[in-house]
Amino acid sequence: MRLTINGKSHEVDVDPTTPLLWVIREQVGLTGTKYGCGIAQCGACTVHINGLPMRSCQVPVSAVGDSKITTIEGLASGKVLHKVQKAWIDHDVPQCGYCQSGMIMAVAALLKVKPKPTDADIDASITNICRCGTFQQVRAAIHAAAKVA
């Protein structure tokens, strides 16, 4: 099976029912995408599939086909961080950080469809669990990132 992840093609030999999350982590070796619940509740495994945020723990690898997958490792353009990553650093958002890859991917996808999200947009779209409770900084950083062209 052939997968396109972060612009690179990967040949993987894996059971087709394997969740994309585990293929990304174990076959491809990109561990920035995290396992938190396995039932699409927490969002720690969020990646972009053709630009849309998806909880990869519930996507069988066989369903991915030719889609373009972006993980947290592929969000920056080379050494230039994505504006969400920059805002995250400016606002010192992460605490333990384990959920933050998924949080950042969800926010980056939101800003693509809603470049200037309102608080209500954020509330409706960002449903990731963060047990450390970084939500105040997450909200502030989203608004800051939205101000960057």
């Binding site: 561990t31 396992y35 010192d92 950080g97 047990r131």
Partner: protein, 730 residues
């Protein structure tokens, strides 16, 4: 620095390959010359806390665990403050417990719980920084043949003003490391701090935004296999049998192993393969004596304790029993608090490589030394043949402290059956929910009486429920003749968790009722339920007295000025003396815990009688000293997410001896839409005692919200979680 440990080159290579160079030290003997310890890269150690590299980078050693609370940044600030080093060139190194053991515990305690990371090590880490500065300055002075007192140090540069000479820490480090460490090491007045006390950025953020931070579950070792595990779902049960043949042919499966008496693991090429094989594996459990226990049985047992004769006393004044006996009108209420799981975002995991000669563990732990002891016990190897390498923790909250027969032990027992092969064991979320070390279950009966002027004259607070220490530190309970002093957190007679009110006739006691469900330290520990009990009941008493809840409390707090200080601060900021906006209701709570004084005032509104919006929480903390105000703000706000999730959603119920909730769909956690605006008031008042930060504030949000809910609806809710009352958080 008398004992120089010897570590195998191989062990260092494995660990540095696993976690990146910075996470492990290799220490080696110098070929000649006086005793000098070098870090892995060859740079000299000035004191055990400070290594100065030739390029003028300072490596600061930290042994407390980072789980998001910001402790590595805070501890580094304290060392750097005294060291006068260049903050922009600070990196962190993590000595291992094995290295510490070999050097007579040179780095002291590793345990990171009880909000102790900074408050119990601030003095010796600051001295480690100050002594290093003195040695570096002395080395420069020796070179220049001038008195050290004429030299100054700032930003990793030493200057002798009179002769207009200057040099860097990096240039004199070799000479400084050979000097005798000074015995008399004065510390700065915190009022003069320039690095500590400032809201500096965390040191660990960059890797957390691009996916490169390595958590335990991300480890990759050469030749590593993966394991998934199931322990008997009924606590205290055992494995009867399992049919390995049914899954041994599945793709990737290498071995099916029993783990101790009660666990079965599948070892496979990948974790996903291990997990699906484990799900398919037929296992027969011997569920043992607890196979029929339910939450109702446990509640019944606790209820009996509310009126039991025997109880351990935690706080006493006057004659509460006598005073209450003679009163016609008593105010009485019974409260209850459930079992709760920590639900760290990163499920429990550990990676172990075992050979008969050496056993090493890599993974997340809040207590490196406890993990070291667990590895030692499970491997059967002596202390000089084992080690533990901590990784970044994906949350801790007390779950990754040192508990018997926990995940570290399991991982060693698996690896012992695969000698020479590193095995990474990860729990599924379902396993994590089934095998927590749960917030203890507790009920509480409160009886109070007012005098003729409406002042609180007598109070009996009877706790009935589980003791954490009886399960995990039985020696402490034994030394107290059966009493668990920690069960009185926030209402105790003295110490770091002392009661913040003076009541003429007072009895606070605990009927210990332990269950088969293993308890653990859950962020805040026993202040969570004790604050709900006492701070809601204070409002009930004020209501009975026809008094304002803040005024009613103030009259009991004359001898507790710091409790009063934080209460007044939140009352002022929320505008307690003025009416709330239309449809908005307020509540307050205060407590002392972990030697910090905390209070919260909240504003909520309630729609349709059950949909609660928490608009705003004002939170005051007096921790004595504040090392990083920005991180403190984040800890306070974050503690409310953890605490309010518990208040509204979280309960682990027991059926047939096991926990019923399996994942976040039955054990919810707050989302950003439900986050109130948190305004933190940081008001350190100094003194000789430093208070904690990670835990204290968590306990005041729940009672403040419950008190506001009563004012909004007239309904007094006395048991957690609120979902059981049909109440939602919106």
């Amino acid at each position: 620095m008398t004992t120089i440990p010897k570590f195998t080159r191989r062990s260092f290579l494995i660990s540095s390959a696993a976690v990146g160079g910075g996470l492990a030290l290799g220490l080696r003997l110098p070929p000649f010359g006086p005793a000098l310890v070098r870090a892995a890269d060859g740079s000299p150690e000035i004191t055990v806390w400070v290594v100065v590299r030739p390029d003028n980078t300072t490596a600061i050693r930290v042994v407390r665990a980072e789980m998001g609370q910001g402790t590595i940044t805070g501890l580094a600030q304290l060392v750097a403050e005294e060291l006068e080093c260049d903050w922009n060139r600070v990196v962190i190194e993590y000595p291992t417990p094995g290295e510490s053991v070999a050097r007579k515990r040179a780095w002291g305690e590793f345990s990171t719980g009880g909000s102790r990371g900074i408050r119990q090590s601030h003095e010796y880490v600051r001295k480690g920084g100050a002594a290093a500065r003195m040695m570096l300055v002395q080395a420069a002075a020796n070179e220049w043949k001038v008195p050290a007192s004429e030299c100054t140090a700032s930003n990793s540069v030493i200057t002798h003003k009179a002769s207009k000479r200057s040099t860097t820490y990096g240039k004199v480090a070799e000479a400084a490391a050979r000097l005798e460490q000074p015995k008399d090491v004065p510390l700065k007045d915190p009022k003069t701090w320039k690095i500590a006390g400032k809201p500096l950025k965390r040191l660990d953020t960059a890797k957390k935004v691009n996916g490169t931070m390595i958590y335990g579950s991300d480890l990759k070792l050469p030749g590593m296999l993966n394991a998934a595990i199931k322990d008997c779902p009924v606590f205290g049960g055992k494995v009867k049998s399992f049919d390995a043949a049914k899954v041994s042919g599945m793709k990737g499966v290498r071995k099916v192993v029993q783990v101790g008496d009660s666990g079965v693991a599948v070892v496979a090429d990948t974790w996903w393969q291990a997990k699906i094989a484990l799900d398919a594996l037929p296992i027969v459990w011997d569920e043992g004596a607890n196979a029929k226990v339910s939450s109702a049985d446990i509640a019944e047992m606790l209820k009996a304790g509310l009126d039991a004769e025997q109880a351990f006393v935690g706080n006493q004044a006057g004659d509460a029993k006598g005073a209450l006996a003679g009163v016609a009108k008593k105010i009485e209420a019974v409260y209850a608090y459930p079992f709760q799981n920590h639900a760290c975002m990163e499920p429990m995991n550990a990676t172990v490589r075992y050979t008969p000669e050496r056993c090493e563990m890599w993974g997340p732990t809040q207590n490196g030394e406890a993990a070291f002891a667990a590895v030692q016990a499970a491997s059967g190897l002596p202390a000089d043949k084992i080690d533990v390498h901590n990784t970044m923790l994906g949350g801790g909250f007390g779950r990754r402290g040192g508990y018997a027969d926990d995940y570290v032990t399991q991982a060693v027992l698996i690896a012992k059956q695969m000698p020479g092969t590193p095995v990474k064991m990860i729990w599924s979320r379902e396993e994590d929910m089934a095998h927590g070390r749960y917030h203890p279950v507790m009920q509480c009966k409160l009886v109070g009486a007012l005098d003729a002027s409406g002042n609180l004259n007598a109070l009996h607070m009877r706790l009935s429920g589980q003791s954490i220490l009886a399960a995990v530190r039985p020696e402490v309970v034994q030394a107290q003749k059966g009493r668990d002093p920690l069960s009185f957190q926030g209402v105790f007679e003295s110490g770091e968790h002392s009661f913040g009110y003076t009541v003429p006739n007072l009895m606070i006691d605990h009927a210990m009722r332990n269950t088969h469900v293993p308890p653990g330290f859950w962020r805040g520990v026993n202040i969570n339920q004790n604050a709900v009990f006492i701070e809601c009941f204070m409002d009930e008493l004020a209501d009975a007295a026809g008094q304002d809840p803040v005024e009613f409390r103030r009259k009991l707090m004359a001898k507790h000025p710091r409790n009063l200080g934080v209460l007044n601060a939140v009352a002022d900021k929320i505008g307690w003396s003025k009416p709330a906006p239309s449809g908005v209701y307020r509540g307050v709570a205060q407590m002392k815990a972990f030697d910090s004084f905390v209070a919260a005032a909240c504003e909520i509104s309630v729609k349709d009688g059950n949909k609660v919006k928490v608009h705003r929480i004002v939170a005051a903390t007096d921790p004595g000293y504040a090392v990083n105000p920005a991180q403190i703000e984040r800890q306070v706000a974050g503690s409310f997410v953890y605490g309010l999730s518990a208040l509204f959603f979280q309960e682990c119920t027991v059926k047939d001896g096991r926990i019923e909730q399996t994942n976040f769909h039955q054990y919810n956690s707050m989302r950003i839409a439900q986050m109130p605006k948190v305004e933190t008031i940081l008001m350190p008042t100094g003194g000789t005692v430093w208070g904690g930060i990670g835990e204290p504030t968590i306990c005041v949000a729940a009672p403040a919200v419950l008190n506001a809910f009563y004012r909004a609806t007239g309904k007094r809710i006395r048991s957690v979680p609120l979902k059981n009352h049909g109440i939602e958080l919106v």
